[in-house]
């Protein structure tokens, strides 16, 4: 899935990713490709991005924001 993680003044990640694990307000969740459309708020914690199944994840510290999941990808705005 196509993933974008962006702050107002910089783009932290943009590209293809296998999965995204992120602390949503309702609890930690993992998004894979073809997830149902969803908009959720985030709480402080750590977002993990796997570029391929089972590899070392890229880590991003976040302090809140919004996750939007569409049919063609996901966007995290912090």
């Amino acid at each position: 899935m196509h993933l974008v993680i962006a702050k107002v003044d910089e783009v932290l990640f943009e590209g293809e990713a296998y999965s995204l694990t992120i602390p949503a307000t309702a609890g930690e969740m993992t998004v894979l490709g073809h997830h149902e459309p969803l908009i959720t708020t985030l709480k402080a914690g750590e977002a993990r991005v796997h570029l391929a199944a089972g590899d070392n994840p890229k880590l991003f510290a976040i302090s809140g924001g919004v996750l939007e999941v569409r049919a063609d990808g996901a966007t995290v705005i912090l």
Partner: protein, 304 residues
């Protein structure tokens, strides 16, 4: 006729001014390119947030949210963005005049208008005219997320607490290197139309920084934990896009306006130098002619 020495001094002074204006022109050109590139980086965020909003904009919750309620305007807050430094042509006076005109047109008393000044020029202008400047941010570094956040917080708090009924932002919109236009936008109450206008501005129609602004596909979304919660988080973000974009636009405008102003100053200095050199040569020629005629006059007197 002015003495030779004085003219010479003027020429040297003119040459020195030209060196300075040429250097400032080069610096502004570099800064302008950088500002345009920063604007490009912020676009992903703006597009993402705008598409999220466009999917929420149909909801009834959004109209009832404290940051998007429309009230009759009795007190207004203006965020005015200028530069810290001058020497940028009509850049700052354009913004300040536009802001003053809007305030006058709104019919509000001076005491019902509050100002958040970004840039020293705006601060000086409104302080001198007796307006209440509630906050002042210098505008001398690159636009950072911190400034954007504090501006949005200051405005959102006042709006949500109903101490102001409308929040405007006035800045110089970057049209091209040679053209900047003073622009006024509403920050609060937030509306989908205002945001759409900003996003359209971010994506230029032509030129090196043009990009696609394809319409997002609509879908039914699950909102977690609730629509109100999502709106609480996302509305300040949308406001921050408007503010961030305004700051970037005004910096790009500042640098290009200064570049153009310095270019014409350099040209003028060159012209003046030519003029003075001509004057210098004429004066020198006149002095020589006088000396020669004195000598020949003296010789003729002795020959008699």
């Amino acid at each position: 006729m002015a003495g030779l020495k004085q003219i010479k001094t003027k020429i040297v002074a003119m040459k020195k001014s030209q060196t300075v204006t040429k250097a400032m022109e080069a610096v502004s050109a570099a800064k302008m390119r950088k500002a345009q590139q920063t604007a490009l980086k912020g676009r992903a965020y703006a597009r993402a947030a705008a598409s999220t909003l466009s999917r929420l904009s149909g909801s009834r919750e959004i109209a009832a949210h404290p940051l998007s309620t429309v009230r009759s305007v009795e007190r207004a807050l203006y965020i005015v963005i200028t530069s810290d430094k001058g020497l940028a042509g009509g850049l700052n006076s354009g913004v300040l005049k536009a802001a003053a005109r809007e305030i006058k047109a709104s019919g509000l008393d001076t005491k019902d208008v509050s100002i958040i000044a970004v840039g020293r020029k705006a601060n000086d202008y409104f302080t001198a005219r007796g307006y209440r400047v509630e906050a002042f941010h210098p505008n001398n570094t690159e636009v950072s997320g911190d400034v954007v956040r504090s501006l949005v917080n200051e405005a959102a708090q006042r709006f949500a607490a109903q101490s102001v009924d409308k929040v405007f932002i006035v800045y110089q919109n970057f049209v091209s290197t040679f053209e900047q236009r003073p622009t006024l936008r509403t920050v609060f109450p937030l509306s989908a139309e205002d945001l759409r206008a900003v996003v359209e501005d971010i994506t230029p129609k032509k030129g090196a920084f043009a990009g696609d602004s394809s319409a997002p596909t609509s879908a039914v979304y699950t909102l977690e934990p609730s629509e109100a919660e999502v709106l609480n988080t996302i509305l300040p973000m949308l406001a921050s896009i408007i503010v961030y974009h305004a700051l970037l636009e005004s910096q790009a405008s500042e640098h290009s306006a200064r570049m153009v102003a310095m270019k014409s100053a350099s040209d003028k200095a060159g012209e003046k130098q030519d003029e003075l050199t001509l004057q210098f040569n004429k004066a020198r020629q006149a002095a020589i002619t006088r000396e020669v005629s004195e000598i020949t006059g003296g010789m003729e007197a002795m020959a008699l």
